[in-house]
Structure formats: structure tokens, C-alpha cells
Symmetry: C2
Subunit: 239 residues, 2 copies
């Protein structure tokens, strides 16, 4: 239980300060959050939120990593997002009210600071900068989701090409033969993020390799033909 007189854990305070939703909030407001937070240390694999549960709380990841995913009836996972320290957990659900639209699970030992959904709304009311940041964040999420939905009209190699291209824009580094990137996750996770299974992803990589678009060495991918990759990823298959 939170103790109003206590001094917040320093790691919790630091993580809350780092959260992009209220980066421009006043220091006191963030400290108030930190004191109100219910902090939990959980082992790897813990379920943080469960799809369908009442969304009366949201969290901030203080330490560790987590996945947000949907569990199909057959147990197949569809990965929506990977999160790390400073990222909000289920904040959208807290704003929308109702129920959590997906599951979240710690993929490493993790520390999470839990807050009532009203706390986020209060912050929005009292700090205009927070309202702006929340609106920007939400609007960008909607735009990203639009892109995700569009990508389902592509086949798996094209979806992979799109992912590689987008990632190259973000963290690509020039190398001797092309643009080099690290996959941000295991290939199994990448398969889930692209809405497919490891076997099919493996074939998609083989296809891009055989067509001379990329070279693959474990999680390190060298993009040999950026232009062709971008075209393939936008739905215009080259012949």
C-alpha cells in the first residue's frame, strides 16, 4: 500500500520522470504520482494485464521489458508492442475506459508502478502540457495502427520488407555493402509481430535473400537494395 509520508523509491521516481506522456509536467505532479504508485516487482513471464479485464489501472514500466500481445483461440500470439523502462502500460485502455484490449506480460524480471486510471485523467486536467503529449501520442498510435492494418493486405515477404525498411530508417547504419540493421527481437517474436509464424518468416527471409535484397546473419541484416525493399514493402512487387 502507498504510504503518503514515505519517500518514493528512487528508481520509480526516475522511471516516472522518463515517461514521455508527462515529460513536461511539473516536478511536484510527478512526485505525487510516484507516492501514489503501487510498486510491484514481478518475475519473468508474469502477466501484467489480461485482455478483457476491467481497465481501472495503468502502469509504468520501471525496469525490465514487456510484450503487449493478443492470444488467439489456438494459443497463437500476435505481438503488438514491446516495452521497456519508462514506457506506459495499458495507458490507452485507462483513457478509453472499459476493458483491456490486449494482454501484457513481462519478458524479463520487471518492476511496474501501478496507478489508478483517474490519476492520469487528473494529470491531464491540471497540466496542459500532459494533455498535449497524450493527444500526440494517441494520434500517432492511431496512424501506426492504420499502417499495420494496411500491411495485412500484403503477403508475408512484403510485410517483412516493410518492417526492414522502416527499421532501416530508424536504426540503419551504412556498412561496406549496404545498410545494416539489427532486428530488435528474436525471429520468433518478429514473426508474431508480423502476424505470421516462424516457419513462414524464415521462408520470407530466404526469398528476400535469394532475390538479392538482403543478407542475413542471425539477427544482423544487411540491406543490399533499399529501393527494391521499399517498393516491395509498399505493395508494388517488382518483376
Amino acid at each position: 500500500m502507498p504510504d503518503p509520508a514515505s519517500i518514493p523509491r528512487p528508481d520509480v521516481l526516475a522511471a516516472l520522470r522518463a515517461c514521455r506522456l508527462w515529460r513536461d509536467a511539473s516536478a511536484e505532479a510527478v512526485e505525487r504520482l510516484a507516492r501514489a504508485a503501487r510498486v510491484r516487482d514481478v518475475p519473468r513471464g508474469s502477466r501484467l494485464v489480461t485482455e478483457g479485464d476491467l481497465a481501472d489501472e495503468f502502469g509504468v514500466l520501471v525496469a525490465g521489458r514487456a510484450h503487449v500481445f493478443h492470444l488467439g483461440a489456438d494459443g497463437k500470439r500476435m505481438l503488438f508492442e514491446t516495452m521497456e523502462a519508462g514506457d506506459p502500460v495499458a495507458a490507452v485502455a485507462a483513457l478509453a475506459g472499459g476493458r483491456y484490449p490486449a494482454n501484457a506480460e513481462a519478458t524479463t524480471p520487471a518492476t511496474v508502478a501501478w496507478l489508478p486510471r483517474a490519476a492520469l485523467w487528473e494529470l491531464i486536467e491540471t497540466e496542459p502540457a500532459v494533455a498535449r503529449a497524450v493527444i500526440s501520442d494517441l494520434a500517432n498510435r492511431v496512424v501506426n495502427f492504420t499502417s499495420v492494418v494496411q500491411s495485412f493486405s500484403l503477403d508475408v515477404p512484403a510485410r517483412l520488407a516493410r518492417y526492414l525498411f522502416q527499421r532501416a530508417l530508424g536504426v540503419g547504419r551504412p556498412s561496406a555493402t549496404g545498410l545494416e540493421i539489427e532486428l530488435g527481437m528474436s525471429k520468433g517474436d518478429l514473426a508474431a509481430a508480423l502476424g505470421t509464424v516462424p516457419e513462414t518468416l524464415s521462408r520470407a527471409f530466404a526469398r528476400l535473400r535469394d532475390d538479392g535484397l538482403v543478407e542475413v546473419h542471425g539477427k544482423r541484416v544487411t540491406i543490399l537494395d533499399v529501393r527494391a525493399l521499399a517498393e516491395l514493402g509498399s505493395g508494388y512487387a517488382e518483376e
Copy 2:
């Protein structure tokens, strides 16, 4: 060009007043919007916004109907949303900045009031009620998109079942043999909304009919087994 001295068109003013994003804004603020708006009457089929264009404006549909959709490389449409009078057009893109993530097109003769994206941000800054409404709207959009993405892990009959069930929750009316609904659009549009093509949708309807879940008469659908429909739509296929 807007004329500051002119009296806004009454239909424009009424549509702006009806827009859910600023329903609780002050009357003066809405009138200011109406005077600033660039109003256009366009014929059926006009492109309102084009995917990839700079998102420097957003609109409010004053009259008529419009579709928001993605155009695949082969010309296939994926329908995201259908809009009517009072609905905002491309407001999310205006908030996110960057470029329009989808296309919008009038499906009837339509009147649109266009506003610069800064006008929406100003309204958010000056009217806290607008900020709240925008955040709620965006959060709900994100939740809905989550559901849409999840549905792509289902086959077409299940996606159709999910749509019918959701619609029954909204506009279903009891009838002699079950719950009766009207499809809100043509079957071709419904196919595009479910991410498929008319032929496959037709087979999906046939399948639900043969399994005794629904009866179909044109755009009027009678749901005979609500429970089975809900189960199928949530991914648990009944045997």
C-alpha cells in the same frame, strides 16, 4: 476564401455544432471555427484527402457521406470507416502531423468545411472540454483498431460473425425468429471493411446460413443463434 465579416452558412454552423469533438466547447469558439472554415461542395466520388499528402488540414462533413479507405497496389480497397454529417475528416492526421495515412472520398454529393490543423490545436489549448473529448475519441479509436488487427487472425466467416454480433449489440431488434439487423452498407463495402472481396464474403454468408446461424434477405439479416455467432466471432469455432 473565408470572409471574417460574413455570416457563416447555417448548415456549416449546424454541422460544426454537431461535431462530437467539440460538443462542449463554447458557442463563440465554434462560431469562430465556422467563420474560418473553407467550405466546399463536391460531387459524388470526389477525393477529399489522399494518402501520403501533407496533413495540414482537416475537415468536417457538413452534408453527404464519405469513405475512409486504403488503396492497395492492385486497386483493392480496404474500408476503414464510413462517415456522415457532423463527423470529422482526417482529424487524427491533423493531430499527428505528417501525412494522411489513408484516403477519403465522398460517396454522395457532399459539403465539407476545411480548417487548418492549427485550429484544432488551438481549440484543444483553450477549451479543456475539447481536450477531454479528443483524448476519449482517440483512445477509443486505438482500442477499436486493436480489435480490428486481432480480427485478422480469424478466417472470413469468423470476421463476419464478429461484425454481425457487434452490430446486433448496437442496432439489433428482436424479431419473430431472432435478432434482426440491417447491414449498414452494401455487401461490397462490407467485404472491403472486413478485408476481403465480395465473392469470399458471399461464401461466408452462405456458410453461416448453412450452419443455421443466420438468415439473409438482401441487406436484412436475422440472427438465429446469437451465442454461436458470438463464439465463432471470438475465435472459438464450434464443432
